[in-house]
């Protein structure tokens, strides 16, 4: 335990040696009772205080004065994607209290440890308080104006010398939707596609895999809807720690329906502790498990034949692959006994509705996209999509990772998943009111405009690899990081080399983040104090696609500024810098021409209106700020299970689904209620119904890709149909139902437009009038022919202890992607040599108290107190063989670490992990391969708790579709320190 929360050195002393015997329990994360006496020891540092409750920092101004009026303001928790409403009590501009948000249908008053402590974020004294830069290795304070103008000048210098693609814009899942959208727009105007955010490292494979299966890359149902499920499988997720409030719905479903709650995971998680069935698998064998289940399902005719015939393409190709996975082979590869697999398969297929819940255990793999495809196929085969209680309930990570993904903080797309082709750029050029040609001119070449950028998992490779291996004019030279940790990406020793080599590093964040401390940089590094979402306005999209409006609780604290303002000011400063350098490119006027500017920054409302105008494809078009604010105001009017506003709700929200989960079609005036459950044919499109999306053509190899005999309720087209375009409308004879105004807009665009590019939203309106989905009515694809593995196949992890399986189940050959080389087989072949010296599988995951890279939460005194040590979970058998004792220090080493280097962490000896498997949380940083980096943080802004990062140990390995990193399966060796 730390003695004082403020003194960095105290962290290393732990307890005074007199209490060391007692403190052994600190690592047994939950062994609180036995250290009841220790808590008092922890206060030794406060001994000088008066014998009463110590005054906490900021409390002097933070105590509620009951004689004065209190303002109650609603915002949304800034941690995970559940989207819990936070009710703040504010007096005199100070956030003095947090009350339960009873009215929210999502959290109903509750929080987890993180949500219950968010108030600390806005009087946390560990925040970055003013702009700083490194001068000769020392942090030096400077004014905002100086900081922004120096940064702008250096960015323009890089642009001049190396081109726009040499700047990497790393955005954040902590942005509001409006902030994310503006950041993507900034990158577009800068002239690069190298703009990314945390989705790359959490659910990029989900988005790619699921969208390629049935249309949209998002959770199909909702947390609340899980209450309807009869069988739930949680595979590769630990929501009890990662999304605790979701457990309220999961456990309620389990209790009310007496549902089966099956947890499939290599680790006996806190979620597994509440399961009715727990299945331990070898890490990295998800596809064999799913195919093994399908083997039983096909064998016993448990599949939903009608559903498959009407709504699924290519299931026969899956059958052929599944046939290989007989129980014996599954057991050989995964270690799961056949009887248990059969039992779970039967439950899932026959005790319906069934839902499959997954998280990063499925996605952070070299086979991530294939994994989620296999999961989706299991759902399709059993007919568990598009109904209450079913679906792919994908729990996204950060509070707005869904929204930030939707708005294209993604190297492969513009906002709204329009992609990067010319028609996408032309669409957004129209929305932004600039010419397509003017956008082309901002890029290095027209080709770079349509080439996916460099993803965040590989930024350092794009800095350090030889120029001829990087498919752009020059290497990355500058990096601008908004709201992103530096310890969440694998191969950190390589990342340090990359960061050291950059010409410019800008970190804009409420906290310094690992980026500020990890490298050996001495100059040209800037730290900008940013506000949290509690200090500004804006909407955020929860995992279930519900969009919630957060209102500013307090003004940005210290000298911090909002994302909107900093981007606005940066655009202005870039103009000045460009002028000074006689460059013709300009930013501010074009970027902000249609946006409302108030108090020196674009308003969230204005930004959302521009989003409404352009984001037709995802149905963000109906989500006006006014509607969202009404939903927050009348939260109590929405049903807990259906999320629908009740019949006696105020007229303005009556019938709406809470937060207008996208797609919310058409204009706000059309009053589409949002879509609670995607692809639900039992509802009319105007009531939130849907079909699988037609986005892959209408026919392939003589087979139709359109649905057969299945359509959403009330559809006038009683069969499959393609997506709506002007031509389709003409062919159906519905063209003249467009108003003259709508026709004029369509003509203005060129006459040949689809529903997604029709800025009048007329095509959408007419389609809905006829009960049709604007995006068409197709089959989901069990065979996705455009992916490296059209039907998922098992591929051994890059670093696997089962070298005997490599030849039979090899990873993909070496290839290229995202402007970079992508090694597969050549690295995997190393396994054969290293597996002997690194016999333990290493996996990583979450703790409930911390989030992401953890800088923010490790700086929160209420959370930091609960988890003070980085640790590794190791099985008792492995520990005994290595003479490792519970609570003792151990050294962990991975096969790619520099020679002689280890990370030093504490051992938690536990049966939570199986034999031969170790697990570490990924939230720690500040110690790097045994170096204490506390001194590298700006004074006073260092997180309270520091620790070794698991990603110093993790290794090479990327998903071929998205360059998702492999964090769940690698190899390591552990020894007592």
């Amino acid at each position: 335990m730390l003695i004082k929360r403020s003194d960095g050195k105290a962290a290393k002393q732990r307890l005074a040696s007199a209490y060391q015997g007692l403190s052994a329990g600190a690592l047994d994360r939950r062994g609180f009772l036995k250290q009841a006496g220790v808590a008092s020891a922890g206060l030794a540092g406060l001994a000088g205080l008066k014998p009463r409750m110590a005054q906490a920092v900021g409390a002097g101004s933070g105590v509620l004065d009951h004689s004065q009026p209190v303002q109650r303001i609603k915002n949304v928790c800034t941690h995970c994607s559940v989207g819990c409403t936070v009710t703040a009590e504010v007096q005199n501009g100070v956030w003095v209290g947090q009350e339960p948000s009873w009215d929210s249908p999502i959290n109903r008053g509750t929080h987890c440890a993180k949500g219950a402590s968010v108030r600390e974020l806005v009087h946390g004294d560990r925040r970055v308080k003013y702009p700083m830069k490194l001068v000769g290795g020392q942090w030096q304070r400077l004014s905002w104006d100086t900081a922004i103008s120096e940064i702008a000048d250096k960015l323009m210098a890089v642009r001049q010398a190396s081109g726009p693609d040499s700047v990497f814009w790393l955005g954040s899942a902590k942005f509001s939707n409006e902030g994310a959208y503006l950041y993507r727009k900034l990158a577009a105007f800068w002239g690069t596609n190298s703009v990314d955010h945390q989705a790359r490292i959490c659910h990029s494979t989900t988005v790619a895999g699921v969208a390629n299966t049935w249309g949209y890359g998002a959770m199909t149902n909702s947390y609340n809807d899980i209450r309807n499920a009869k069988t739930m499988i949680i595979m590769g997720g630990n929501p009890a720690e990662a999304h605790p409030v979701s457990l309220q719905h999961i456990l309620s479903g389990k209790e009310i329906n007496r549902s089966n709650l099956i947890v499939i995971d290599p680790r006996f998680t806190r979620t597994a502790a509440h399961a009715t069935e727990y299945m331990r698998i070898r890490p990295g064998t998800d596809i064999p498990i799913i195919w093994g289940m399908l083997w039983h399902i096909f064998q016993n005719n448990w599949e939903d034949k009608e559903f498959i015939a009407q709504r699924v393409y290519g299931m026969d190709d899956v059958r052929a692959e599944v046939a290989k996975w007989n129980p014996a082979e599954v057991e050989r590869v995964t270690g799961v006994p056949g009887a248990q697999l059969r039992k779970v398969a039967e439950m899932f297929a026959t005790q319906k509705p069934s839902t499959l819940i997954w998280c990063m255990g499925a996605t952070q793999k070299t086979v991530g996209t294939a994994n989620v495809r296999a999961y989706s196929i299991l759902l399709l085969a059993t007919g568990n999509v598009g109904k209450p209680g079913t679906g792919a309930n994908i729990f996204r990570g950060h509070c707005n990772v869904q929204g930030a993904t939707d708005f294209g903080l993604d190297v492969t797309s513009l906002p709204g998943y329009y992609g990067l082709d010319e028609s996408a750029w032309r669409h957004w050029a129209r929305v932004w009111g600039v010419s397509y040609e003017s956008l082309v001119a901002r890029f290095d070449s027209p080709a770079m405009m349509t080439t996916p950028g460099i993803p965040t998992t590989r930024y350092f490779d794009a800095i350090t690899l030889p120029k001829d291996q990087i498919q752009q004019r020059d290497r990355l030279k500058a990096m601008v990081v908004f709201g992103h940790g530096g310890n969440t990406v694998t191969r950190m020793p390589e990342a340090v080399k990359g960061l050291d080599a950059l010409d410019l590093l800008v970190v804009a964040d409420p906290h310094p983040t690992t980026f500020a401390a990890l490298s050996n940089r001495r100059d040209n590094t800037y730290l900008l104090p940013m506000s949290t979402q509690f200090e500004t306005n804006g909407s955020r999209t929860s995992s279930n696609r519900s969009i919630q409006w957060g209102s500013q609780v307090v003004k940005p604290i210290f000298e911090s500024r909002t994302d909107y303002r900093v981007m606005y000011d940066l655009a202005g400063a870039l103009d000045v810098a460009a002028e000074r350098r006689n460059m013709t490119v300009r930013f501010k006027n074009d970027m902000f021409k249609n946006l409302e500017i108030k108090d020196g920054e674009p308003t969230a409302e204005g930004l959302l209106r521009e989003i409404n105008y352009g984001s037709l494809s995802t149905g963000y078009s109906g989500v006006s700020p006014e509607r969202l604010k009404l939903h927050m105001q009348h939260q109590d009017q929405f049903d807990l299970v259906t999320l629908r506003a009740k019949p006696d709700a105020p007229e303005a929200i009556r019938g709406d689904f809470y937060g207008l989960p996208w797609p919310c079609w058409g204009t706000p005036e059309m009053r589409h209620p949002g879509t609670h459950i995607l692809y639900n044919t039992n509802l009319h499109v105007k009531e939130g119904g849907g079909t699988f999306r037609a986005r892959f053509g209408v026919e392939r190899e003589g087979k139709t890709l359109l649905a057969e005999g299945s359509y959403s309720k009330g559809s006038e087209l009683t069969d499959g149909y393609p997506e709506f375009t002007v031509q389709v409308l003409r062919r159906l004879g519905w063209y003249d139902e467009l108003t003259a105004q709508e026709k004029a807009v369509i003509e203005g665009i060129g006459g040949n437009v689809s529903w997604a590019t029709d800025l009048s939203a007329g095509i959408i309106r007419v389609a809905m009038e006829h009960g049709c989905l604007p995006y068409g009515n197709a089959k989901a694809r069990a065979n996705a022919w455009n992916l490296p593995d059209p039907v998922p196949v098992h591929r051994e992890p890059i670093y696997t202890p089962r070298v005997d399986l490599i030849d039979q189940y090899p990873t993909l050959p070496d290839r290229r992607g995202f402007r970079l080389p992508h090694l597969g087989v050549s690295v995997q072949n190393r396994s054969k040599e290293v597996a002997r010296d690194y016999p333990i599988i290493l996996s990583s995951g979450r703790l409930v108290e911390y989030e992401g890279g953890g800088e923010e939460t490790r700086s929160n005194r209420w959370l930091a107190e609960l988890q003070q040590d980085m640790f590794v979970e190791i099985n008792p058998a492995d520990a005994a063989a290595r003479n490792i004792r519970e609570g003792g220090w151990v050294l962990v080493r991975g096969p790619e670490m520099p020679a002689g280097k280890f990370i030093k962490v504490k051992a938690m000896v536990t049966e939570r992990v199986g034999r031969g498997v170790a697990w570490m949380p990924f939230h720690f940083a500040g110690w790097f391969m045994q170096e204490d980096q506390r001194g590298k943080y700006p004074a006073g802004a260092d997180p309270i708790v520091l620790g070794e990062s698991v990603n110093a140990v993790t290794t090479y390995g990327y998903d071929p579709v998205t360059f998702m990193q492999e964090t769940k399966v690698t190899l390591c060796q552990i020894q007592a320190a």
Binding site: D28, L43, A44, L64, G97, P100, H111, L247, E255, E911
Partner: protein, 198 residues
């Protein structure tokens, strides 16, 4: 008057520690003092269960029985509170308490441990309700505002219940009946000399 109690449904508790940080947040409890904590048994094994623990506000509370300066008192709602101005930090209550609730800002075999601190059921202390002096010594007084303890109000899975004994026992009993299992109201026999059956 109501008989206020805590009840933790260990079949629901997921050990998310919301109760712990909610308490910290509401009362600005300093580092090192934990009025509430979550205890997990069989950690990492089948049968793993967690229980959120704090002062249970016992019937005939042992802490008050052993206190040499009689600083404890029980409110009309049966909440066990203490007067920090009387407390001498002797630590007897810590030894008497079956739940390990009392906390002290200092440690040492000789000399005072400082004023004892523990869960107040969000009911403050002997000072006038919701005054700065009460807040500084004891934390917020939600009971005086007609609210329940924040730990229970914010519990992520509604495992931790606070409120009138009859009411929370009824909620728990109905829950057990509906789902068909329940490990009982942990600590009730010790604290209140009764249990909640299904």
């Amino acid at each position: 008057m109501a008989r206020m109690k805590f009840l933790c449904d260990s079949d629901r508790c997921i050990e998310c520690n919301a109760c712990v940080t909610a308490c910290k947040n509401e009362h600005e409890v300093p580092w090192g003092i934990n009025r509430r904590r979550v205890v997990t048994i069989n950690d990492g094994k089948p049968g793993e269960r967690s229980i959120s623990m704090a002062c249970m506000h016992c019937t005939d509370s042992p802490c008050s029985a052993v206190c040499p300066v009689s600083c404890f008192y029980t409110t009309a709602d049966a909440i066990v509170l203490h007067d920090k101005d009387l407390c001498i930090g002797c630590g007897y209550c810590f030894y008497a308490c079956p739940f390990g609730a009392p906390q002290y800002p200092r440690v040492g075999n000789f000399g005072g441990r400082g004023k004892m601190d523990k869960c107040t059921y969000c009911a403050g202390g002997p000072q006038a309700d919701n005054t700065l002096v009460e807040y500084t010594q004891y934390g917020a007084n939600r009971i005086a505002e007609g609210k329940l303890p924040l730990c229970a109000e914010m519990c992520s899975t509604k495992a931790l219940l606070a409120g009138d004994s009859d009411m929370i026992a009824t909620i728990y009993r109905e829950r057990v009946q509906k789902r068909g299992y329940g490990s009982g109201a942990w600590g009730w026999r010790t604290a209140y000399r009764e249990t909640v059956g299904a």
